[in-house]
């Protein structure tokens, strides 16, 4: 029997292959969207930046929310695995990016670098190399002191005080113990009041990170370590962004590896722009995808393939796919979310496939939900629709899911356009404005 979205089991199969909240996976994997190349030269440019400066590349990557930064970085990391020892540091994994501060970020980097060494553990044990155990000891002991850990009498256990609660930890497996301590310390840094924080400073952490990087470099069969620090772009507080991107820049420069780091888009545009660029260079932008015209014929292959990967090839009409792709504005998270919603919509309507009416319903709900713009925002959107410029002023609109879209630059200037879902609101605003002028 052919698959049909009206069948609950088929719906569940499709939903299991679509996840807009996780970076795309390299191959088919339950609970993940499968990665699909987006075209363009983003990955090539990233490779060029890193290759050009062997061990000391410093690259900021930025782009609008949901545009696909994490998926591209994960892909880049996978592509590089033969040439570089990539260490993917995820600031969002267990902590709060906004509140980590530079210490929290470096703790996260150290945590993920240490996790990387665990990949070598069995090989190292077989060869009888004591280097990793010595390194572990070298990091663990001062760290326990810095975090004010209390040893039990037999020294087999140490008790930390995280967030006002005792946290006992067995020291039998020291490698594992160190991984846990680093994870807990990074979490603690992100949630505690400044007065409850430990005396760890970025300087110490950078030194420890470098110790681990050197060890990895020495065991990576000639592959140079590369740090990819993701979700720094979730730092929305301007002071916190300044701490990590500007004030901590000397510490970043001391890290003995190339670094690719995501940066909050709005803080690479506004007041911090010059300070950030003078330290990191111009951020590498990931732009929204090209979207199909509603009246056009072709649909960019990435949209078709994303649907196909989720098993929707015969479960979505091309017209429906076009509508969803067009109104996503080329923001991949929105597109995947639309696919999920449209599948459910089709099921509830008893449709075998996603019909254009299902796609339109999904788009309509999204459009009405997010268009509570104030007069000032509408004025800005109106101006952007006319001029295609003015990003500095409109940076706050980047926080709205359907405000503006920043496209590839044209003759050096960023091209802006109003999100297709905000278009109707702008039209209404213009109509009201022209009527008001007519009345006068």
């Amino acid at each position: 029997m052919p698959a049909s979205l009206s069948n609950l089991q088929d719906l569940r199969t499709a939903l299991g292959q679509l996840n807009a909240e996780r970076p795309a996976s390299a191959g088919p994997r339950e609970g993940y969207t499968q990665y699909e190349p987006r075209g363009g030269d983003f990955l090539r440019r990233l490779d060029l930046e890193v290759s050009a400066r062997q061990k000391d590349a410093r690259v900021l990557v930025t782009g609008q929310i949901g545009v696909g930064k994490s998926s591209e970085l994960l892909r880049f990391s996978q592509n590089q695995s033969r040439r570089r020892e990539t260490i993917f540091c995820d600031l969002e994994k267990e902590e709060h990016p906004d509140r980590c501060g530079a210490t929290g970020v470096f703790l996260t980097v150290l945590r993920d670098c240490w996790s990387k060494t665990l990949h070598y553990q069995s090989r190292v044990q077989r060869s009888g190399d004591r280097g990793l155990s010595e390194l572990c000891h070298e990091i663990l002991i001062p760290l326990i002191d810095s975090l004010k850990g209390q040893y039990t009498q037999d020294k087999r256990k140490v008790v930390f005080r995280f967030g006002g609660m005792d946290y006992p930890l067995l020291l039998e497996d020291r490698h594992r113990a160190l991984a846990i301590i680093l994870g807990k310390a990074a979490q603690h840094e992100a949630v505690s009041q400044p007065s409850d924080r430990f005396g760890l400073v970025p300087d110490t952490l950078v030194h420890l990170v470098n110790r681990v990087l050197r060890w990895i470099g020495g065991h990576g069969a000639g592959r140079v370590p590369l740090l990819i620090v993701d979700h720094v772009d979730k730092i929305r507080d301007v002071g916190a962004a300044e701490d990590v991107l500007v004030k901590a820049a000397p510490h970043w420069n001391r890290i003995e590896a190339s670094i690719i780091m995501t940066a909050p888009y709005e803080h690479t545009l506004g007041d911090l722009r010059n300070s950030v660029e003078s330290r990191w260079g111009r951020p590498l932008m990931l732009y929204p995808l090209v979207t199909p015209d509603l009246a056009g014929v072709s649909i960019p292959p990435i949209y078709l393939n994303l649907g196909k990967n989720a098993g929707l090839e015969r479960l979505i009409r091309p017209e429906s796919l076009r509508i969803l792709a067009h109104y996503s504005g080329g923001i991949l998270r929105t597109f995947v979310q639309f696919l999920v919603q449209a599948c459910k919509e089709a099921h509830l309507a008893g449709h075998d496939q996603i019909e254009p009416s299902d796609a339109k319903d999904v788009v309509h709900v999204h459009e009405t939900a997010y268009q509570d713009y104030g007069a000032a925002n509408l004025e800005l959107l109106d101006r952007i629709a006319d001029t295609g410029a003015g990003l500095g002023e409109a940076a706050t609109l980047l926080r709205s899911p359907i405000g503006i879209l920043v496209g590839e630059p044209d003759r050096g200037e960023q091209r802006l356009r109003v999100h297709p879902l905000a278009q109707a609101a702008v039209e209404r605003y213009r109509l009201k404005k022209s009527k008001a002028v007519g009345v006068r």
């Binding site: 719906l11 569940r12 939903l15 996840n19 807009a20 909240e21 609970g31 929310i65 949901g66 969002e92 994994k93 267990e94 902590e95 709060h96 990016p97 906004d98 509140r99 967030g163 594992r176 991984a179 846990i180 994870g183 807990k184 979490q187 992100a190 949630v191 979730k234 929305r236 507080d237 998270r333 929105t334 979310q337 639309f338 999920v340 919603q341 459910k344 509830l348 319903d361 999904v362 709900v365 999204h366 939900a369 997010y370 509570d372 713009y373 104030g374 706050t396 980047l398 926080r399 709205s400 899911p401």
Partner: protein, 205 residues
Amino acid sequence: MSTAERLAFSINEERRGVHVLLWDEQEDLVRALLILLAALEDDVVVHPLLVSPEQDRIHALKEVVDTRCLLEEEREAEPPSPDSLANRFWVLFVQQASSRIAGPWLNGWRRPLSEPPGTLLVIRHADFESFQRNAPDLASFAGPRLHNASTMLSLVSKDSCARLSASLPPQIEEVLRELPGTLPSRKEIAQWIEAVRSFEDQTGE
């Protein structure tokens, strides 16, 4: 056509992600929640919590969030039990006018909030724009999973109709008393349920 049953369907089928329920009047919100609770599968256990800027509230919320932030090593050593807070469906009622403080806090925890079985954020409609601005990354996770209690139709399937309870769980009522507006009385709820049931009897919907 938005109904509370559709919201329940999304929660039941997706079992992850951030959903948003907007409201203007408590009466609408209570009705939407009654239908939602009736339509959720039995294994979706709801855990309500008020989100507001007071320290003790933030602390309580942090304790809940922590349950989905276990380190890999901790999870391996002791996986969360099925009835752990981590495995409950969190319903977070965002206090009116608190988005400026609570928004950035929630924004940083979008990952655990979206982890299975997910979270429902209940937000006053008038606050939603401020919420988006203060929690843009979390709002992007919610995306189109957005429902409005004020515009929901009171359409209820036969099964949910039979399961409709005459009152909300006390923990939810306790939270609702802290929100602006007045809880509808038991009598008003009973009348509404009667009307819904008689409509369902007539139409067989």
